[in-house]
Symmetry: C2
Subunit: 324 residues, 2 copies
């Protein structure tokens, strides 16, 4: 089942079920008005949403042509947005560029940070450039949307907490990071609002590509129409989403609608390219002494998506243009 | 006007208006079901809540005896919980204890971190001790609850974004902090769920004590009935809430219901005591070479409140017991 949120002028939008071909949807307001409401009462709501999806597929529910611009982020605001850094190839390269060593626990304890989820960007929302000197970068990520997570949840029980998956464009002002790192309190101004994919998808929709808490498919990132990278989001995700859930829940509980990100997808094989500009800049610096790729500029277009073996665009496309 | 949230078995509770004497309340469901709903539509909802408050005062609305144990945190879950560290006396002392220098921008740029607000503690909820080796500490803080904050909001315009004030007991596992600091991604496991005061209060309720984005009253913290400290939350708050709002809004916007904390209230005058154990331990270390005060233990009782000149308990009392 694939879910989306229609912009309807309200803060949380209107929940909709997406047809299998991705060409149409049907509003789900009669079942649950918003995705947050659906997640809050998932045990009762999910079967009713699945029945609506079956009706849509069979032509028994009213179908509305799907216009990506009419969609908000699946959760226009989320109670928590927690982002990991599980692709160690990326972590090592980026820290190297900052002249910082990776923490000694890099391979044994997940790196996560608390993001701000109160205002999120729709998949087709413009990206505010801010000050061009801040060094705006994109990051292609896989995310899970959680249900209730009791404190002390272990990795072995984490699959039952995962309700949906989606993609993110986790934006970062790279040049604001070093000062915030130095202050020791984590990212804040360096992380503007994050954008999410049009659809949030139940794990069963992904078939065997979703296994062991990892999504074994390639994420595709394009910049101004040219491929930036298409790394596999599965094998090199050092800590699985299950591991991350265990790490998060060590000292507190989480409410439904918490979004948990993988961090920038990154493969050691250079042929797979990158899903953020910083990583390419680091590779350029290693190869040629200095970066050649500039950060994002006004007018740049970023597209992020993920297709299965049959070429189906699983989450729809994040398709954003940078604006001054 | 003072607002509270009744526990009613739902995730977000039921909004209520508190009578002036703090002895009774009336459910406000006919105006707005939850505090989040009230904040989302504040311009229309506030006058109706004030009318209800007037009716309650005049005996025209049904009064229910106020039982603090029936109350949840004003926002049982908040879209964002952002905490500052604006009392520089505290920042300097605690960093000194960690053997870390304060950042060079200490006096010119606010320190804030992104907390997790998806699951918050009620004012009388037990505090889970976790592992006694984690070093559980309390922190008495003043907070504001924000309305819509557009990106780029300046300090001069921040007062208009502040809807309510409340107190917090910001719990910290002190012994988990150094490892997380070293990783550079900010606090995560070291910050369990935060507790908030019974009442959230409109700024006008505080009279001249609320001025310039600071609350000029003493916060009182007791541990097992003995006074731990009663520092003034006003003059030594180096950055005002207005300054903090400007800092937050530099690169993104905030949704209503964002809670913003002052950080541990702390005065340079030792006679005012402390509002967290770490600060007392640091003072002990400076005086006697090592800390004598232990961190919180099972059975410890923490009380946090703030009274005005007339002795009125403005926010009600955070009254929690530590449990294994």
């Amino acid at each position: 089942m694939r879910l989306a949120t229609l912009r309807d002028g309200t803060r949380d939008g209107l929940l909709a079920v997406v047809r299998g071909d991705g060409e149409a949807l049907t509003p789900a307001g009669a079942v649950a008005g918003t995705l947050q409401q659906a997640l809050d009462g998932w045990a009762e709501v999910e079967p009713r949403l699945r029945a609506l999806a079956a009706d849509l597929e069979a032509g028994r529910a009213p179908a509305r042509k799907l216009d990506p611009r009419a969609l908000h982020s699946p959760l226009p605001r989320a109670y928590e947005w927690v982002d990991g850094s599980t692709f160690l190839n990326h972590t090592r390269l980026v820290r190297r560029a900052r002249g910082a060593l990776p923490p000694p626990t890099l391979e044994t304890e997940p790196l996560v940070y608390q993001g701000g989820g109160g205002v999120l960007l729709a998949p087709t929302d413009p990206i505010p450039l801010g000050d061009p000197g801040w060094g705006l970068d994109l990051e292609g990520e896989v995310c899970v949307i959680l249900g209730d997570v009791p404190m002390g949840t272990r990795a072995a029980g984490a699959e039952g907490c995962i309700r949906l998956l989606c993609l993110a464009n986790d934006l970062t002002f790279r040049n604001l990071v070093p000062t915030e790192m130095e202050k020791g309190f984590g990212f804040f101004q360096s992380k503007p609002a994050t954008a999410f994919s049009p659809f949030a998808v139940t794990p069963d929709e992904l078939g065997p590509a979703w296994r062991g808490g990892r999504l074994h498919l390639r994420i595709t990132v394009r910049l101004n129409g040219a491929l930036l990278g298409d790394p596999d989001a599965g094998p090199e995700m050092h800590f699985s989403f299950h591991d991350l859930v265990q790490h998060l829940a060590r000292t507190r509980a989480f409410t439904p609608g918490t979004i948990l990100g993988s961090g920038t997808v990154s493969n050691a094989d250079e042929a797979r390219g990158v899903t953020c500009l910083q990583e390419r800049r680091v590779r350029e610096t290693i190869g040629a002494g200095q970066p050649q790729t500039p950060f994002l500029r006004a007018g740049d277009r970023v597209e992020i998506e993920m297709r299965d073996g049959a070429g189906r665009n699983l989450f729809g496309t994040i398709d954003q243009v940078v604006v001054p």
